[in-house]
């Protein structure tokens, strides 16, 4: 069995790549058990209740970056973790969240920390989406990503969602980022999801598509408008139910 170190993990919070400030993390996905035990049953009988999704992460203080953002108590933003680091198709854990706390801590012999930041599911979603990474890098022009086949090696008919994090914004150029799907790796792609963030500011966005066919191959296309060759740093996570 292949064990994987967590050292290459990438944590994106509302567009910001805060990997170098995050000391550890813990995602939690659970279901409230609802007891429906009836007479004559041999043991307690539980059925799944409502989902609970949560992320806790310990972070270091840096007033110029993470502290300033997290002190704003974010809500309805996206947090995405790429636990193994980025390679096309690597697993991702993503969640729309509201930030539940901000509790800096320190002592004379220690570094200042932000304590354990808690991110709670925003409720209008499936909780922690265990998807995969379709993009993570910096580009300067229109770029068509490589197609990635669904881990099941087939198409699905299910709700799907994509999350976009923009961590390096463009000064002049703008981009349209889309997720495309196809029945063939080499060709035949059509648009599945289109993000509205245009690359002009750091931020995050989650787009969903209601249940429909999601073809087995997916890729990211970032189309530039402009000619300034600005750096555009972004990451894309994709998930479907089922």
């Amino acid at each position: 069995m292949a064990k994987t170190s967590a050292k290459d993990g990438i944590m994106l919070i509302d567009g910001y790549n805060y990997s170098t400030y995050i000391a550890d993390y813990e995602y939690q996905m659970q279901v409230d058990p609802v007891e429906v035990t009836g007479l004559s049953e041999g043991s307690h009988n539980f059925i799944p209740g409502q989902k609970v999704a949560r992320l806790a992460a310990n972070a270091y203080w840096d007033n110029a970056t993470i502290t300033t953002v997290m002190s704003g108590m974010l809500s309805n933003k996206i947090v995405t973790l790429i636990p193994e680091g980025y390679t096309l198709g690597n697993p991702t854990l993503s969640m729309p969240f509201m930030q539940a706390n901000f509790n800096p801590q320190g002592s004379p012999a220690s570094a200042i920390t932000l304590g354990q930041l808690e991110f709670l599911s925003y409720g209008n979603n499936a909780g922690v989406e265990d998807g995969y990474a379709l993009a993570h890098g910096t580009i300067t022009d229109t770029t068509t990503g490589t197609g990635f086949v669904d881990p099941s090696a087939g198409a699905v008919t299910a709700i799907c969602a994509g999350a976009l994090h923009i961590w390096t914004a463009c000064a002049e150029d703008t981009y349209v980022v889309t997720i495309e799907h196809s029945t063939s790796l080499a060709s035949g792609y059509s648009t599945l999801l289109t993000f509205t963030l245009d690359g002009s500011a750091v931020g995050s966005e989650r787009i969903t598509a209601t249940s429909g066919t999601v073809n087995k191959y997916r890729r990211v296309v970032a189309t530039r408008t402009g000619s300034a060759d600005d750096d555009f740093g972004f990451s894309v996570h994709f998930w479907h139910a089922g």
Binding site: T20, Y21, I22
Partner: protein, 150 residues
């Protein structure tokens, strides 16, 4: 930020303790004579020891934050054994210098370096100089934490 042994030894050499010649890492004497005492310098063979480090954040090979804790040792030689009026005649002077030294070390302010502890050892025992001669003196051990990719 990164490891910088010479910045630490330089800061220590700039301390002012009455009557003591405090030397930087580039001026460690091969031999110490009675006329050079009292003198302090980085301890040969034990200058930088006891490394403890492990990655503290994510961020890849060049971005991961590494706090590094280690101990920098200094050798203080007060006077050669046999010099003075009696076997314990130097203890009073040693005590003054030890107290002054430890306070000065605790007050060090070196950019990017956290001083976690300062200890004095060997105060009442003969201590070996760089050429093997024995002295009244002590070692000062300063445990510091530095930050790689902070």
């Amino acid at each position: 930020m990164a490891l910088d042994t010479k910045a630490i030894t330089l800061a220590v050499s700039n301390l002012s303790v009455s009557g003591v010649d405090i030397r930087d890492i580039d001026r460690i004497p091969d031999e110490v004579t009675v006329r050079q005492c009292p003198i302090m310098f980085p301890q040969p063979g034990e200058i930088s020891v006891g490394y403890e480090d492990e990655p503290a954040t994510f961020g890849g090979a060049t971005g991961t934050y590494w706090p590094v804790t280690r101990t920098i040792n200094f050798l203080y030689l007060h006077a050669p054994i046999g010099e003075g009026r009696g076997a314990f005649s130097h203890y009073s002077g040693l005590a003054d210098k030890a107290d002054a030294m430890i306070e000065k070390f605790m007050e060090l302010n070196i950019t990017g370096v956290d001083i976690l502890s300062v200890k004095i050892d060997g105060f009442s025992k003969p201590i070996e100089g760089p050429s093997g001669n024995m002295f009244f003196g002590f070692t000062v051990s300063m445990t510091v934490r530095e930050k790689v990719n902070a």
